[in-house]
Symmetry: C2
Subunit: 201 residues, 2 copies
Amino acid sequence: MIRVLLADDHLLIREALVLLLETEDGIEVVADVGRGDEAVDRALALKPDIAVLDIDMPGLDGLAAAERMARDLPGCRLVIVTAHGRPGNLRRAMAAGVRGFLGKDAPGARLAEVIRQVAGGARYIDPQLAADALAVEECPLTPRELDTLRAAADGAPVARIARSLGLSEGTVRNYLSAAVTKLGADNRHAAVRAARDLGWL
Amino acid sequence: MIRVLLADDHLLIREALVLLLETEDGIEVVADVGRGDEAVDRALALKPDIAVLDIDMPGLDGLAAAERMARDLPGCRLVIVTAHGRPGNLRRAMAAGVRGFLGKDAPGARLAEVIRQVAGGARYIDPQLAADALAVEECPLTPRELDTLRAAADGAPVARIARSLGLSEGTVRNYLSAAVTKLGADNRHAAVRAARDLGWL
DNA sequence: GGGCACCCATGACAAATGTCACCGGTACTC
DNA sequence: GAGTACCGGTGACATTTGTCATGGGTGCCC
């Protein structure tokens, strides 16, 4: 019997997924939680074979939870199920040691199949998402450029960005200008959108 | 037997929800689809008692689908299930004649309960979302201000906005300036975020 | 050591943006 | 008819921005 912990922030979805997994032979859902930090706590207590994590969650997102669990609970194998198949998410998940990654538009039977495969030691990456991730080149932005872009993401003026990063305004403008040029955007706000779409933010 | 049509763009979620509803007595899922336009087509063909619609969908979003179905299929009662309980969405749903509105963080049993209530002629609005919607004052922006704000949402420069709306650049700047002032934002990009958060965009 | 990438900064200039006053026109209400 | 709200526009101005050249500093690799 494969013991599964399921984490998704929407109760309705979580209950439905539990029901779906319970109809599968050999799979038992030992816990279901709605927060990333709670997922880590429960996993430490219950030591499930597999943790199935959504990315969008309060407290700690699914990827951060995966990173912690990979460190503190190496016996537990990780599967990410997400609505947002951004290349950056996939990359980050792979870096965290996640062994299964699939989108929410996969058929239900596939989730069970992936859980079995991963429990057996194999890996499974959604082919569509993998192709997208490989098609997108590496992020050309330097760490500092990413910082300034992130700080600009909510429409803050340069002065506030400079203060929040402890930089001079001129420096911030230089970084933003470089980011805008590299991304081929009209201005920094379009650059923020572009970077986010490519999963670089 | 209540005949239900279910629309959600994520196959995994949809299958799980079908399973959840099928465990309920007196409810039968007669069709499940992943696109808003498809939902309308299938509903016209099958004439279900209830249509359960997600908002985020390709083709036609759940609210637009609800508006069409309310017009073309008055016998079919509408329930919206969404992850994004923005006040604007709720308002638009009510205007379209939707009779049930609940978040995806509701418990599974509630969905079945709401379907039964709505099939019986009652209404059900998620109390939390209803409170949020009532707490937010009416949108103070004029239609034209909303247009320009929408056109500015992707970071387009004023010149492109003016062209796309057939206005002079000065006029566009005036509308944007008014919107920024009314929303108390630092600039139009922050204004876009603010308006979107309040469900006005 | 030289080359290179990155970090942080300054100064200067052009372009875009935000703000204001003010114009006329339409439509609706009191 | 007066008042009000919205639409569309112009012109002017200050501020914010994007861009460029240029500087010095660090750390890494060949």
